[in-house]
């Protein structure tokens, strides 16, 4: 039986089929229509039920509550805040606290993580085993468990302020947290800050310049003495010109608590400790995998060019490892930021704790409050991953990949 040649399908119809239903054609279109109908139905049911339930509970929906007076205190604020401020202010206070704990946590997690990764890769058997043991123990215990451990067991068993551990009579460690001397600004502060800013800017620009010069002329330039000199020298000169720009306010124990200085709350300390040690274990594995992914021959090639071990690592191995490290490292940073919401368990006033916790229980506006909270975390996640993929894209481009 001969098979007749089939006429080619009409182009327009084929294109339309494809555009509307993907590879499955009209069947796909039908699936889409049914899917959308089901989604609409579920959405309608949700809205309808929510409206009925809210009406029954006499809760007004909408965001008007954001301008109402909050009426509760927050233990740690970086922007001025009073009980008479609005819920919007509470939201900002919590958001800033979340960002602070995330940034500090990310910094320490990166430092500890790289250190542990290097320890695991160390040729020394004992050190590598210690690094491995750290990773295994920390990764296999829940983060909430670790936060509570640091907060309840370790920081909770510290002595009271009167018997606090002190270093040089100016740093005090007690169960009320860490009290450190505070810098109080005086007359010449502005000039000093300008000098510091210039120094930092120069310290960022100089290596970039040196790199460009290296690529243009092939002459390496020793950057670090210049940077160090600028960073120390400029502020020093400013210091000499404008006079003492700030004074040190040393905390003093008076009665049952400290006066003066600034206090770092134990909740913050416990949260940062737990978040950074926990995330560090994951970062260590990420970094280790990245460094191991660079072929051994690269190290040998660097040595044969006459580079020192440090130079080979810095100029050849790490940039290549970075491409492998960066995406999972971003994920770890995001996880840390999201995990900082566990602060609610120990009462550190982060976004989740003051907003989805206290504000929700005071106003009962569950839908609005949880939607805002989720939205903020989602926004942080999306912005961070966008920035990091931009960075990864630049690295790839600069390496010609």
């Amino acid at each position: 039986m001969a098979i007749d040649a089939r006429p080619p399908p009409p182009q327009l119809v084929a294109k339309l089929r494809r555009a509307l239903g993907g590879r499955s054609g009209w069947k796909g279109l039908l699936a889409q229509v049914l899917f959308v109908a089901a989604l609409f139905w579920i959405g309608y049911e949700i809205v309808d039920n929510a409206r009925d339930n809210l009406a029954n509970q006499r809760i007004a929906s909408g965001f008007a509550f954001m301008s109402h007076t909050a009426g509760f205190g927050v233990s740690q604020t970086l922007i001025p805040y009073q009980e008479s401020d609005s819920y919007t202010r509470v939201f900002l206070v919590g958001l800033i606290n979340t960002l602070v704990v995330s940034v500090v946590g990310i910094f320490f997690a990166t430092v500890i993580g790289f250190a542990v990764a290097l320890a695991r890769l160390s040729p020394n058997w004992l050190i590598s085993r210690i690094g491995g043991g750290y990773v295994e123990i920390v990764r296999n215990l829940p983060l909430l468990f670790q936060i509570l451990f640091w907060y309840l067991a370790v920081l909770g068993s510290l002595p009271s302020p009167r018997q606090s551990v002190s270093v040089m009579d100016s740093f005090f460690l007690s169960n009320r947290g860490i009290v450190v001397p505070r810098l109080a600004g005086e007359a010449g502060l502005d000039g000093f800050l300008v000098a510091l800013l210039i120094a930092v800017a120069a310290a960022i620009v100089l290596p970039l310049y040196a790199r460009r010069r290296l690529f243009a002329t092939g002459k390496p330039m020793r950057v670090w003495p210049w940077v160090l000199g600028l960073l120390i020298g400029l502020p020093l000169i400013a210091f000499l010109i404008v006079g003492k720009p700030f004074s040190l306010e040393v905390p003093v124990l008076r009665g049952f608590n400290f006066v003066g200085g600034s206090r770092i709350a134990p909740e913050f300390v416990a949260l940062t400790l737990a978040l950074s040690t926990y995330t560090a274990a994951f970062i260590a594995e990420v970094v280790r995998a990245g460094i191991l992914s660079v072929h051994k021959g690269q190290m040998e090639a660097g040595a044969s060019l006459g580079l020192s071990r440090g130079q080979t690592l810095r100029l050849i191995v790490i940039p290549q490892a970075m491409r492998v490290i960066l995406p999972p490292l971003t994920n770890q940073y995001l996880n840390l930021t999201k995990n900082s919401s566990l602060a609610v368990a120990i009462g550190y006033p982060d976004l989740f704790s003051v907003f989805a916790g206290t504000t929700l229980s005071q106003t009962g506006q569950a839908i609005e409050v949880i939607a805002i909270t989720m939205g903020v975390y989602l926004l942080i996640s999306l912005v961070t991953s966008a920035l990091m993929s931009l960075y990864g894209w630049r690295i790839n481009r600069s390496m010609g990949a």
Binding site: L54, I127, L144, A153, S341
Partner: protein, 501 residues
């Protein structure tokens, strides 16, 4: 290029590197010590640092947990230094006193055999599933993933059933018909466009009511009879068996028939054994559950329920149908972008608002739904990785054989993909197991929640109670997570056997 020629290249070694001595093979412990610990001054220094680190961590830990520990006692005074006569380490009597709370929570004591039975059954079904050589994997997996959760629910929660397949589908159908009709009525009262759609929906609702009428009548007849559950079960069994027999074709249908009949006999045996038709075991409210029981229930349910969600989302993300793909991507990115604790709050405070007012849902159940959706989004990405790893040729070969999309996916692509990602899935299960501790924030007393509750007991407040409790709980968590991670490593090792040289 000319630029390069004019400058002296910097990174070219000018001098010869001195010859290094050949590596000496020194086997044994002594060789290891000499080669890997003490072969250079830096290494000696590192070894000393490492030894000091170990000395300052391991020695106090061992001393605390074993040497200085108090092993027996009845209240806090036994764990104080002046009674014990030496500096006190771990206070183990505290753990002994709270042990049953850590495991069962407030589950009533006479009913605790049910929890033990569930733990034992779970272990019995799980072990052969994990051993690669054990036979009958399909049957085993079916029992563990489908039969066991149902059985565990009736054992742990108690209570019976009122009906079976016919009753449930009749309830569902009439519920849908009511909802569609209700929506139509509300919309019809609205504006001009709404009234057109509303009329259409109203018509659809009426049609649905008429369609479901025979089933509803059957349900009412069954419920009016003297043995509603058994009659319903029998009718469902007959209907499903006939359907399966017809769908698989008479020639191949006998095997499917035997399977279906076996499944229904199993269900009947379970109904009879637990007396589900007569109210079943006494109900234990989930508020009484706690400790390791809740931890296990939440994590196992999360694992089992998140798998189908994950597979569906992963397939949806790869689908060529635009709206399904967009929805899957948005769904996955949303759940992955928010912290789990917000998901729990969403489940606890927002979900009840979305459900009809007469429909209350248990707190534990709400949290389980939230966790399943959250873990499903994470699993979807792991499974997508596996799907991407399957060569296109596999799917193309399948369609060349004339298999449909579902057969290609279900028989060719998915089994291979899932095998690829077992280690990744185990990793996400470890994360899920650890994350279950977050339920203690939404007023469920899992292992960690029970630990915190135990700290509040003044009978046992000593300086070392906290450390003892954390040590004990930490050990439980560690054993589970470490066991899982080792298992995943061994699976990875076995799956990659062909890659080793």
């Amino acid at each position: 290029m000319s630029e390069l020629g004019s400058v002296t290249p910097v990174f070219v070694r000018g001098e010869m590197v001195p010859q290094r001595p050949p590596p000496v093979h020194t086997p044994g412990v002594l060789g290891l010590v000499r080669q890997r610990l003490l072969n250079s001054p830096t290494n000696i220094l590192l070894t000393i640092v490492g030894l000091l680190l170990l000395y300052f961590t391991v020695v106090p830990t061992v001393k605390f947990l074993l040497v200085d520990a108090v092993w027996s006692g009845s209240n806090r005074t036994d764990c104080l230094a002046d009674k014990a006569g030496h500096p006190v380490g771990a206070c183990w009597p505290f753990v002994q006193a709270k042990f049953s709370q850590f495991i069962y929570g407030f589950y009533p004591t006479p009913e605790r055999w049910r929890v033990d039975l569930v733990f034992a059954l779970g272990a019995l079904l799980l072990l052969p599933l994990l051993i690669p050589r054990a036979p009958a994997k399909t049957l085993n997996a079916g029992l563990f993933f489908i039969a066991f959760p149902v059985l565990a629910f009736f054992l742990l929660h108690g209570g019976g059933v009122q009906g079976f397949g016919v009753t449930w589908s009749a309830d569902l159908l009439s519920g849908v018909a009511d909802s569609v009709g209700g929506a139509g009525r509300k919309l019809a009262a609205g504006g001009p466009i709404g009234s057109v759609i509303g009329q259409a929906l109203l018509g659809l609702g009426t049609v649905l009511v008429w369609l479901s009428w025979p089933l509803v009548a059957l349900r009412d007849w069954i419920q009016a009879s003297s043995q509603p559950v058994w009659l319903d079960l029998l009718l469902t069994a007959v209907a499903v068996t006939a359907l399966v027999f017809i769908l698989t074709g008479v020639r191949n249908g006998w095997r499917a028939l035997a399977t279906t009949v076996g499944i229904f006999v199993g269900i009947a045996a379970m109904v009879a054994a637990l007396r589900l038709d007569r109210g079943g075991l006494p109900v234990v409210d989930t508020r009484m559950w706690g400790g390791l029981l809740v931890t296990m229930v939440v994590s196992v349910t999360g694992i089992v329920a998140s798998m189908p969600i994950g597979i569906a989302l992963a397939l949806g993300r790869r689908s060529t149908i635009p709206l399904i793909r967009i929805f899957s991507v948005a769904f996955i990115e949303f759940w992955r972008g928010v912290p789990l604790i917000t998901v729990m709050f969403f489940a606890t405070y927002m979900l009840p608002l979305f459900l009809p007012g007469n429909f209350t849902i248990d707190n534990l159940m709400r949290v389980l739904i939230g966790i399943a959706l959250f873990a499903g989004a994470y699993n979807a990405e792991v499974i997508r990785g596996g799907l991407n790893a399957i060569p296109r040729g596999q799917a193309e070969a399948a369609s060349a054989l004339g298999l449909s999309y579902w057969k290609t996916t279900g028989l060719i692509v998915l089994p291979q993909a899932l095998r690829h990602v077992i280690p990744g899935l185990v990793n996400s299960f470890i994360a899920l197991f650890k994350d279950t501790s977050l339920v203690s924030i939404v007023a469920l007393f899992d292992l960690l929640g029970q630990l915190r509750a135990a700290f509040a007991d003044p009978t046992w407040s000593t300086p070392t109670t906290l450390f003892t409790g954390f040590a004990f709980t930490g050990l439980i968590y560690f054993v589970f997570c470490f066991g899982m991670s080792r298992y995943s490593l061994s699976v990875e090792h076995r799956l990659n056997a062909h890659r080793r040289t």
